[in-house]
């Protein structure tokens, strides 16, 4: 991914009240650990990336309910908007990314695409295969109570761990 795209992604995320934390692949557990407000629940990351100790993977609803932080992978990210694309998958990523007050999303730099077009283009066949995705941009928000409030039904804080490609 070009550095332009990555810096656009960082700016896009910040515009939407999210922060981006670059990390080497083997530094992911440490980077994530620093972003956790315990207790934390998580979904195992794909492609050999590890989560730090102390994160309850295979969470129960009770653990989900008690967690302050949820950690999931993001399949894709969109630079223009600072969006992360979360999969509504069998591992429970949807619930883990949604219930705790803080969501930590882990995405590979190689999966950051410049714009909406590219993202939808990449998702088309997966959706046709039956997948479900959430384009998540920043924390949840509402203006229904008379003022903009960050954190409505979903997380109040979004931290994005950007995993630099290992061959770079």
């Amino acid at each position: 991914m070009s550095s332009d795209t990555l810096s656009a992604f960082v700016a896009g995320a910040e515009d939407h009240h999210a922060s981006v934390h670059p990390s080497a692949p083997d530094a992911v557990p440490g980077t994530v650990a620093d972003l956790i407000d315990p207790p934390a629940v998580g979904v195992r990351l794909p492609d050999g990336l590890d989560l730090p100790e102390g994160v309850a993977t295979d969470p129960t609803p009770a653990e989900l309910d008690a967690a302050n932080t949820g950690i999931t992978a993001a399949r894709l990210a969109i630079a223009d908007y600072g969006t992360v694309v979360l999969e509504s998958d069998a591992a429970g990523s949807e619930a883990v990314s949604l219930f705790p007050e803080r969501h930590v999303a882990v995405v590979r730099a190689g999966d950051v695409v410049p714009g909406m077009r590219e993202a939808i283009g990449r998702l088309g066949d997966r959706l046709r295969d039956g997948a479900s995705e959430v384009l998540a941009t920043g924390p949840s928000a509402t203006a229904d109570m008379g003022d903009l409030v960050i954190g409505a039904h979903g997380p109040r804080e979004v931290e994005i761990v950007l995993v630099e490609d290992s061959d770079e």
């Binding site: 979904v43 195992r44 990351l45 794909p46 295979d58 969470p59 129960t60 609803p61 009770a62 989900l64 309910d65 999931t72 992978a73 399949r75 908007y81 969006t83 999969e87 509504s88 998958d89 069998a90 591992a91 429970g92 990523s93 949807e94 619930a95 949604l98 909406m116 077009r117 939808i120 283009g121 998702l123 088309g124 997966r126 959706l127 046709r128 295969d129 039956g130 997948a131 479900s132 995705e133 959430v134 384009l135 998540a136 941009t137 920043g138 924390p139 949840s140 928000a141 509402t142 203006a143 229904d144 109570m145 008379g146 003022d147 409030v149 954190g151 409505a152 039904h153 979903g154 997380p155």
Partner: protein
């Protein structure tokens, strides 16, 4: 149909809403609208995206039956069910069966409001909770949404705090007050309901036929929770939401938030292909892992979770008939972004409780209500569309909303009781309209007849019209607001003046161009000065100007705004005959009144053969657009009045000493005479505001343009007693912005009248500010 009684009732209802909800609605809608302006300014290729979005919808509605079949196939292949419901009862019966008296959490869906699904479910003993915070507030308050995107924008924070305190018996420390506290409270309360729900009900913003994917556009996250926690998900959506492919979603995702609330994107755009793979979250079995132990993100993602059940209810309820209706069809392109509401001056003042029907509100609501509820419901608020057209450039799918309102108004007119035909004004109609059309509509729709009569009998007509008893009768019988100054008819029309001065003054040989100044009804009979100013200006720029009697024909704009489409068509044909003859003779048609220009450029294509409409549109120019073009093409502004000249000296006099090299351009450093300029709504829609500003600046004026969408008068609207107060309220921001201005310019007739009423009578047309003095 407005009888004297119902007129008074309408006025009272509007006054009540102005007082109780007006401020909150104004603040929110104007905020959304400003947000839209900013967000689309930053969006690259905005116009191209809108065209693309429109093309997708045109294609989708064209192929709708086929796409519904494709969608069914895709959803069923994933293991979900699809039901196409004919009407509300049919849809509700299906959902009732699925819910079976259980507990339901719902995310915001206008379609379920249309069906009154909550009531239907509750009749079976089901507990239904709205989880969108705005909708929940309305559910607690037992009120209807006032905006299709922000259902509770009419409620203040204090009002919500009181509502919560009362409903949940909260006092002291427990009583949430701030927006933050109120949100927290609602979140926690609603989470209890979400945990226990048997069924989640959502709408769908879009449905892709190729994959069975539904898009849900939200910011709160409640739709995600409603769809993911319970094992059963019911999505309810109008059939018009189907689009061909997943890829077709792209333009809509980029447009919908920007158009609606001014967000470049909402926090969540869920693309769910249900039944989804996500495990249901069983809080009742809270110590069992949700997912199979050891699964990683992405594993087996495409398989529907075995415990999940999904039902898609596609609602017809009049939509497939709208598809067959040439005028209402466009309504189905609507993506319910709310931009038309936010950009509407009247909506900004009263919101959807006045400007809306049983479900939908704002400009496009007339189309929706006429299609799904019927003309009676649409009639209740259709008059609040003044046809100003400010919603047209705001709409991301380029729907001609004012036209839909005109057509529905026409159908309402025709649907009325012919027995209510009022002989008082019968003489005013030629008459192409049938049906029991409202007398005030007839009056305003035939303003040209009235104007002819008015000029012929002036000043008697003016004196008579100003008498108290006459005004009282006009109010009673015609619904004309007694507070409003009536136009003063001039004895000498523009046409008469032009003839009596001896016709054109620029000789054929010397003429740079030949032009006809179109003597629209108002310019010809009332605002004669601006017509004279136009002639003098063109002559100063070397144009051989004419005002032939043959062209003094009404454009049809007035009857059009009353929904008298056939009358308008007849007038349009006469006007075309007169003006096209001039165009064919090589003359440009210069138009002063922006609403007439809009008729030529936007509406004649609906009234006349396409070739005629195009030829006329190509041959006509707004007067300052024309002046701008002349100056750009080398005409010398020397003869025009410039800032600082007052009206006494021509610009040429001040530079007559041969200072050489001065091309007459002002240095633009802003030290010119300040003027406040309000462009007419339709002029802005046609992108013509900039020309006027450029000309004024070139002549040395320091121009401030108005920030408000509308002055509130829009044609005859502000004359009507039912709407007088609303009209003045819409104009309020202009008072705030222009209150201290020394010199106020406005390009529309009604804008000038409204500004006079708001600021004191001194508003001029910009052509009067630049015209050389009368000789």
């Amino acid at each position: 149909m407005s009888k004297p009684d119902s007129r008074a009732e309408t006025a009272a209802r509007i006054r009540h809403l102005l007082e109780t909800e007006g401020d909150a609605v104004a603040e929110n809608t104007r905020g959304f609208n400003r947000g839209r302006h900013e967000a689309v300014r930053e969006l690259e290729g905005y116009e191209a995206l809108k065209s693309e979005a429109r093309t997708v919808k045109e294609d989708a509605i064209e192929r709708l039956p086929e796409l519904i079949d494709d969608l069914r196939e895709a959803v069923e292949a994933n293991g979900g069910r699809v039901y196409v419901a004919d009407d509300a009862a049919d849809a509700n019966a299906y959902v009732r069966e699925v819910v079976d008296g259980g507990t339901v959490v719902k995310s915001k869906s206008m379609t379920t409001e249309e069906l009154e699904l909550n009531e239907a479910l509750e009749a079976d003993g089901a507990a239904v909770t709205e989880t969108d915070l705005g909708e929940w507030v309305l559910q607690l308050a037992d009120e209807a949404p006032s905006h299709i995107v922000g259902p509770a924008i009419h409620k203040s924070r204090e009002g919500i705090a009181d509502l919560f305190a009362e409903t949940f018996d909260l006092a002291g420390e427990d009583r949430p007050e701030t927006a933050e506290e109120l949100t927290r409270f609602a979140r926690e309360r609603l989470l209890r309901d979400i945990r226990e729900a048997d069924v989640g009900v959502t709408g769908a913003n879009f449905l892709a036929a190729d994959s069975g994917t539904m898009a849900l556009v939200t910011s709160e996250g409640n739709a995600r929770k409603s769809a993911v926690v319970p094992d059963t998900h019911v999505a309810v959506a109008g059939v018009e939401k189907v689009i061909p492919t997943v890829e077709d979603l792209a333009p809509f995702i980029e447009l919908i938030g920007r158009s609606g609330t001014g967000q470049d994107i909402t926090s969540y755009v869920s693309l769910l292909t249900p039944p989804v793979a996500s495990p249901p979250v069983r809080f009742s079995e809270s110590d069992e892992p949700m997912a199979d132990a050891g699964t990683a993100a992405g594993d087996g993602a495409c398989e529907a979770h075995p415990d999940r059940e999904f039902h898609l209810v596609l609602v017809d309820n009049g939509r497939l008939a709208m598809r067959e209706d040439d005028d209402l069809r466009e309504t189905l392109y609507c993506i319910r972004c709310g931009a038309c509401s936010n950009s509407c001056g009247n909506f900004q003042s009263v919101g959807g409780h006045a400007f809306g029907g049983e479900t939908y509100s704002g400009g496009i609501a007339t189309g929706w209500e006429a299609g799904v509820e019927g003309l009676d419901t649409a009639a209740e608020f259709n008059d609040l569309c003044t046809g100003c057209s400010r919603c047209v450039p705001a709409c991301p799918v380029k729907i001609d909303i004012p036209w839909i309102n005109t057509v529905v108004r026409d159908r309402i007119n025709r649907g009325g009781d012919p027995g209510r035909f009022d002989p008082l004004v019968e003489g005013l109609t030629p008459d192409d309209e049938s049906g029991g059309i409202d007398p005030s509509k007839r009056l305003f729709g035939n303003f040209d007849t009235l104007a002819k009569l008015g000029s012929a009998t002036a000043p008697l007509s003016n004196w008579g019209a100003s008498l108290g008893p006459v005004r009282a009768a006009m109010d009673r019988w015609l619904g004309i607001a007694p507070e409003r100054d009536l136009p003063t008819f001039e004895r000498e029309t523009l046409v008469d003046w032009f003839e009596s001065r001896g016709g054109p003054r620029v000789s054929e040989g010397m003429a740079r161009r030949e032009a006809v100044v179109y003597p629209d009804t108002y310019t010809n009979h009332v605002a004669v000065d601006r017509g004279k100013a136009a002639v003098r200006t063109l002559e100063a720029l070397g144009v051989r100007a004419h005002v032939p009697e043959s062209t003094a024909v009404a454009s049809g704009r007035a009857p059009l705004s009353q929904g008298m489409v056939e009358t308008a068509r007849g007038k349009a044909e006469r006007c075309r005959d007169a003006l096209l003859a001039e165009v064919d003779a090589g003359r440009d048609v210069v138009v002063i009144e922006p609403s007439d220009l809009a008729a030529f450029e936007r509406e004649y294509e609906r009234l006349l053969p396409e070739a005629d409409a195009t030829a006329l549109a190509d041959g006509c120019y707004e007067v300052l657009e024309y002046v701008y073009g002349l100056l750009e093409n080398g005409a010398e502004p020397a003869g025009l009045a410039a800032a600082g000249d007052g009206h006494a000296a021509g610009y040429g006099d001040s530079r007559g000493a041969g200072d050489g090299g001065d091309d007459g351009e002002s240095d633009g450093d802003g030290d010119g005479i300040p003027v406040a300029y309000h462009a007419h709504c339709q002029q802005r829609t046609l992108d013509l505001e900039a020309h006027t500003v450029a000309v004024l600046e070139r002549l040395g004026y320091d121009v401030t343009t108005s920030e408000t969408e509308c002055c509130g008068m829009a044609g005859s609207f502000g004359y009507k007693s039912a709407y007088y107060e609303l009209s003045m309220d819409v104009g309020e921001p202009l008072v705030e912005q222009f209150g201290d201005a020394d010199r106020v310019l406005a390009s529309g007739t009604s804008c000038c009248e409204q500004l006079d009423a708001l600021l004191g009578p001194s508003t001029e047309h910009p052509i009067e500010a630049i015209a050389p003095p009368e000789r």
